[in-house]
């Protein structure tokens, strides 16, 4: 899932400025399950903003609405009326949700209420860890299902480096060394020989190094370029 963290209230207030009518838009998918921007968080933030603005002697009309997914036009169509009535929209979606609202409603000023953080996993209740860096060229088949791109601090392809100590990374003794995890897993499965094969430089063009990415599936498109 995509994880995010809510921005501090002071920062959100600064983003909203003196707007009279504020619409807080929650998202019912990734940021709901990481307790950052779902319906509940949207309601709590709205109440907090209403009270904070009252205390600042500039009461704002703050309402909230939550859509199933901010990153799909169909769901955004459902809140067209609410968006039109607002002076400013505070999106509690990830960065994709904020941009989708801005793109779908060109006359609307939209600001983010979250810092989108990473793609990860809820390790335990209240703890999320990064697992995927969307590098565009998955090598999990070589590393026993443990990603060295997302989980090694240096994104090494042939690790571990000299900073690995007692199974932990030199950046923080709390952070496990991804290559130690890979070695342990491959050993436990009798596949440690895989590590003898040196990995050539990775194709980073399919990652962010190649600029903004796009996927086109002609088999799924309603109108093909070739038609």
């Amino acid at each position: 899932m995509i994880t995010g963290e809510q921005k501090p209230l002071e920062e959100i207030q600064a983003l909203l400025g003196d707007a009279e009518k504020v619409l807080v838009v929650g998202c019912g998918t990734c940021v709901t399950v990481c307790f950052a921007g779902g319906s509940r968080e949207a309601q709590i933030l709205s109440a907090s903003l209403r009270m904070a603005s009252k205390l600042n002697d500039h009461p704002q009309d703050v309402t909230d609405v939550t859509v199933q997914r901010q990153c799909e036009w169909e769901y955004l169509d459902e809140i067209e009326k609410e968006i039109a009535e607002a002076d400013i929209v505070l999106s509690l979606g990830c960065g994709i949700g904020v941009q989708a609202i801005a793109e779908h409603f060109p006359d609307t000023w939209v600001v983010p209420g979250l810092n989108t953080t990473f793609m990860g996993i809820p390790q335990e209740q209240g703890v999320w860890e990064e697992r995927c860096a969307a590098c565009g060229d998955c090598i999990l088949g070589l590393t026993g299902g443990i990603c060295p791109i997302a989980r090694c601090s240096k994104s090494l392809l042939n690790g571990p480096c000299g900073g690995s100590e007692d199974g932990h990374c030199e950046i923080d003794p709390e952070v496990p060394c991804a290559w130690q995890l890979i070695y342990d897993r491959l050993t436990s499965m009798g596949k440690e020989d895989t590590l003898l094969e040196l990995q050539p430089p990775k194709n980073w063009q399919v990652s962010r190094d190649g600029g903004p990415r796009k996927i086109i599936r002609e088999d799924l498109r309603l109108i093909s370029d070739e038609a």
Binding site: R40, I44, A47, M51, L55
Partner: protein
Amino acid sequence: MSRLPNTQQWSINHVNNKIDDFQIVTYCCTHCAYAAADLAGGLRMQYSPAIKVVELPCTGRLDVLTVLESFEQGADGVMVSG
């Protein structure tokens, strides 16, 4: 909250002296605090009318949204008793 007096001023006497100025909502668990409040009533014990008791089946039912709504509706303080 600017409507709340500072800690030094916040005393039972202060509440008693300005009963009309304050509204304290207290959410009580029906199994303990609410029963205690009931007993206090039966014993004719006095407490400030500023305190408004709301009975809950369990204080685990209390949600942060309920507390926020109490403040938004004008409560000066919220007490959770359970």
